[in-house]
């Protein structure tokens, strides 16, 4: 065997400092509970709950430390060499922290919700085990410091969500799981091709403000366009860009907490987040603009926004309507990214958070309707507002936020997106936003109308949880949507205050556009 066939240096980390450990701890705080939960016997509910919640709280704690640290100029990076020239990197930069905070906060509430939702159902060890793995993967996606690490966790996310989608074991669930895998694994394979290609050209693809691809000479423009296409196509599957969105409406057969997490933070958001990373920190937004990659992306995003809303109009199944709404809403993020200019960036990035908070509220509420009264269809919702006022109130806030009614979260997003479109010289985007808003109203307002203003005409399909002491449903089911609905209101109202999602998004945008001060 000749020399140079292998490589001698394959060492991992030698010494680990506190700043290196923190990203790992954030991962471990859901990975370890997940693995422990797998090995717990089914009937150890108390212990399982304890592990879940301890993990969730610890994760929040670690993230809080990092948030504080990043504001004070600390940096948190962990590196591990898998192969020479191929590293696993976890990095807590501003963008990562934005997403990781969102995931951890929403995970905490979803865990509470799931504990209530799955009360008494079988296979909970398996469910919570994969649930924790799923969050671990999401956190990994958030903190990935280079494209390779991102890809690793992006694929782990696919694998850990599959058991959640098929959890119920019904033929519909298995079919949905199959469709989900077919889409996401194919997307992953396309992404892999793009990633390997880019690594071949660049050697390393570390996420860097301003991008790294521009170091290649102009003769690579063609290849870089091809790679961009592969990367966006791969990410677009999870981000449910039309025409790669087919899996999402099917996957809503999963239990409500899973749908909530899938639509708000985990899968769909991982795709959108990946698009943000690729445009800003792999290509660099200016370089992407110079390769004329942004306009096509904006067009695809706009098509998705309109198409998703149109399809949502015709769904009677509540979760299906919400699923099409997700397709539409998540593309706001891609749209914001594609608008060249800091204001558009701001709109896209802040929507990453806002959409998550709003959509999780809506899915929690949909789960409550189904779990409490057996309501799955919009046409069964007549008068439900008076039976379940708190849930419906939360739903109303979420829905109005999605439409973009001020001062709710969605308004902030749309405002900045609109401004960004003008700044980028793409006024036609305003028309897209306007049409989308009209359509949002057209599919959400009838629901609100039915819930509040129509009398109940038929008995509830299946009243599982009776009204007790004026409480419309179980506490653990009610609390999470109320909190997230309140958050929808608060992040909108206090958008201008420090440490709000908008403020944090400004920090990110300011780093991408060096000459810009918000």
């Amino acid at each position: 065997m000749g020399e140079g066939l292998g490589v001698r240096d394959g060492r991992g980390v030698v010494s680990v400092t506190v700043n290196e450990t923190l990203p790992l701890l954030v991962l471990a705080s859901s990975l370890i509970p997940g693995l422990v939960i797998f090995s717990l016997p089914e009937e150890r509910h108390g212990l399982r709950r304890a592990f879940n919640l301890t993990g969730a709280v610890l994760k929040l704690l670690f993230i809080a430390i990092m948030l504080w640290g990043v504001l004070h100029g600390e940096s948190y990076v962990f590196r591990y060499s898998v192969l020479p020239g191929l590293e696993l990197v976890f990095k807590a930069d501003a963008l990562a922290l934005l997403f990781v905070t969102l995931s951890a906060v929403l995970w905490f509430f979803t865990t509470l919700y799931a504990i209530g939702y799955l009360e008494g159902s079988p296979h909970r060890s398996r469910f919570f085990g994969f649930f924790s793995l799923c969050v671990t993967a999401t956190v990994g996606v958030a903190m990935a410091g280079n494209l390779f690490t991102f890809f690793v966790f992006y694929e782990l996310l696919t694998l850990s969500t599959y058991p959640l989608v098929v959890h119920r074991g019904t033929p519909a669930a298995l079919r949905a799981g199959g469709v989900y895998l077919a889409y996401t694994l194919t997307g992953g394979a396309v992404l892999l091709a793009g990633v390997v290609w880019l690594y071949g050209l660049l050697g390393q693809v570390e996420f860097t403000q301003g991008g790294v691809a521009s170091t290649l000479g102009p003769e690579y423009a063609g290849q870089l366009r091809m790679i961009f296409f592969l990367l966006i196509a791969g990410l677009g599957v999870k981000a449910a860009l039309v025409p790669l969105h087919g899996w999402l409406p099917q996957a809503m057969v999963a239990p409500a907490p899973v749908s909530a997490l899938l639509h708000a933070v985990a899968v769909v958001k991982a795709g959108a987040f990946g698009i943000v990373r690729v445009v800003y920190e792999v290509y660099g937004v200016e370089f992407a603009q110079s390769l004329s990659l942004l306009v096509p992306l904006a067009v695809v995003a706009s098509l998705t926004i309109v198409w998703g809303s149109l399809r949502a109009l015709f769904q009677d199944d509540l979760k299906r309507r919400l699923a099409y709404s997700t397709i539409s809403q998540v593309s706001y993020i891609a749209l914001g990214v594609a608008l060249f200019g800091p204001v558009g960036t701001l709109g896209g990035i802040v929507h990453l958070v806002h959409q998550g908070i709003m959509k999780i509220t809506l899915f929690f509420c949909a789960g409550n309707y189904a779990e409490t009264l057996g309501i799955h269809k919009v046409s069964d919702m007549d008068g439900v507002g008076w039976r379940m006022p708190w849930t419906t109130a939360a739903f109303t806030i979420g829905a109005l936020g999605m439409i973009g009614v001020p001062p709710l979260a969605g308004f902030i997003s749309k405002w900045y997106l609109g401004l960004g479109a003008l700044e980028a010289g793409m006024p036609w985007v305003l028309a897209v936003l306007a049409v989308s808003t009209l359509l949002n109203a057209a599919y959400f307002l009838p629901i609100l109308h039915r819930a509040w203003f129509r009398p109940q005409t038929a008995p509830w399909p299946a009243e599982n949880i009776p009204m007790k002491n004026g409480r419309e449903t179980a506490w653990l089911l009610l609390l999470p949507p109320l909190v997230t609905a309140a958050a929808t209101l608060l992040v909108g109202l206090f958008a201008a205050s420090p440490l709000s999602p908008l403020d944090w998004a400004k920090l990110v945008a300011a780093r991408e556009y060096l000459n810009w001060a918000p």
Partner: protein, 480 residues
């Protein structure tokens, strides 16, 4: 201190013979102890190679060309480690398996010992005739293991396997005869410098015969016909040993001959042909796996497909010395290692399911996810490696092969690898999804001992973690 090199060959022969003398079905504990020692020896040898580089050992003190040389370099050290690391947990598994399932247990241990001795001898051999003897030893041991359960299916499969392996070694032997006729030596180290592009026709014929014979033994498409019934029909510990290790041994020899001996003769066309056969194996094997209704047959066809990846390295390694070539060889070896670990785990898991459930219809696996969660998890983890998803060793292998393909501009192989990964996902999830179904009415799950579930799980975990320790493995590979 014990010199690990000769003992890696003698030790398994010793415990095999002693197990035989002790009587039918006996000797499992002896085997586990022996394998433990062998693993330590292989580790020691790997450390020697990593420290001091390649090593040549003249048996009998004569040295080539009169005597027989053994040699160990990075590649052989890695393969030796793989063989012992797979065999040890499988031996623990086999003890539990045969305690519950007596068929085929009578001569398992002596046959397995002979198999390991043959494999270790093959990885250490540096003499083409000695390699012939090790190949025959390996082939007969493997056939014996397949046939040992005595059922109609396995016996027919074993006979077919025997005929294939004999045809293969016959072709190889004629190649050896031609090489000896041409150069008067059978030592690799003597032959290598003598071979050049101007070699006589007989040497080209020898190369073709030897490689063809070995391809037949490796079950490369279209020579794979014997593999699925043999690997699918044997008892689970045997299937695991065969699929994980035995086909790798003949692949190792192909790689060794291609790189060390026949390199000056190798043409781009021949390399492309090997790659095309590999690609066909990937696609055909995966499709056939997808079409199977029995669990073990599915796993066996998956081996046909996974072998294909190994052969993609030949077209990628044409331009010797380049970055693309180095990473292609690394990728191929990583694939051999991770598939070895994963497939052993997968067959072992399938065996556990069959023991517990009493059947292996894929359509009737309902309830496995709740009754045998660890075993299902094992199957899934092994599946991750087969699909080539991160962070498994299979992923690292695919990454290396894909980068190599892109560096050398051979895009076709990238497409094949992507398709192969997706098809692998299709057949792995075909099994997993059934396991999520509720328990079928009237189905009894027999409880299974832990020693059946844990060794398989550890193997699967190793195949996954291999991806994270790839740097060290490749470091060792490059050391000699």
């Amino acid at each position: 201190m014990l010199d690990p090199l000769p003992w890696l060959i003698l030790l398994p022969l010793f415990w095999a013979t002693l197990a035989f003398v002790r009587g039918p079905g006996r000797g499992g504990r002896l085997a586990v102890a022996g394998l433990l020692l062998q693993l330590a020896l292989a580790g020691g040898l790997a450390r020697q190679v990593a420290g001091e580089g390649e090593r040549v050992y003249a048996v009998g003190g004569w040295g080539a060309p009169l005597g027989i040389d053994l040699a160990v370099d990075g590649l052989s050290a890695v393969m030796l480690l793989l063989a012992q690391a797979v065999a040890l947990p499988l031996a623990v598994y086999a003890r539990a398996y045969y305690a519950a399932h007596e068929e085929g247990a009578r001569y398992f241990w002596p046959l397995a010992g002979a198999l390991l001795a043959a494999m270790n001898a093959l990885f250490l051999a540096a003499d083409v005739f000695n390699l012939y003897v090790t190949l025959e030893l390996l082939g007969l041991a493997a056939v014996g293991l397949v046939a040992a359960s005595g059922g109609a299916g396995p016996v027919t499969a074993a006979l077919r396997y025997l005929m294939a392996t004999l045809l293969g070694s016959g072709a190889y032997l004629l190649g050896v005869a031609l090489l000896y006729g041409a150069y008067g030596s059978v030592s690799l180290s003597i032959l290598a410098p003598l071979l050049g592009a101007d070699a006589p026709l007989a040497v080209f014929l020898a190369a073709a015969l030897m490689l063809l014979g070995l391809m037949l033994k490796t079950a490369l498409f279209p020579f794979h016909f014997w593999l699925p019934p043999a690997h699918g029909g044997a008892p689970a510990p045997v299937s695991a040993l065969l699929s994980a290790l035995v086909v790798k041994a003949s692949f190792y020899l192909i790689l060794r001959l291609w790189l060390d001996l026949f390199a000056p003769l190798a043409t781009v066309a021949a390399a492309q042909l090997l790659g095309l056969l590999g690609a066909a194996a990937i696609l055909w094997g995966s499709l056939m796996a997808l079409a199977q209704t029995r669990l073990k047959m599915l796993v066996a066809y998956s081996t046909v497909a996974q072998i294909g990846y190994l052969f993609l390295l030949f077209p990628l390694a044409t331009d010797t010395g380049s970055v693309a070539s180095a990473s292609a060889i690394q990728g191929g070896v990583m694939q051999a290692l991770s598939h070895g670990l994963a497939k052993a785990a997968m067959f072992a898991a399938a065996g556990t399911v069959i023991l517990s459930l009493g059947r292996d219809d894929i359509a009737r696996l309902g309830g496995v996810s709740s009754r045998l969660p660890l075993t299902l998890f094992t199957f899934a983890l092994a599946g991750v490696t087969l699909m080539g998803l991160p962070p498994s060793g299979g992923f690292t292998a695919k990454w290396l092969l894909m980068s190599s393909a892109m560096h050398s501009g051979q895009w076709g192989w990238v497409v094949v690898m992507i398709l192969g990964g997706l098809l692998a996902a299709a057949y792995v999830f075909k099994v997993l999804r059934q396991a999520f179904l509720p328990v079928e009415a009237g189905t009894q799950f027999k409880p299974v001992p832990r020693l059946l579930e844990w060794p398989a799980f550890l193997l699967a975990l190793a195949s996954l973690l291999l991806g994270l320790r790839a740097g060290e493995v490749l470091g060792l590979l490059g050391a000699g």
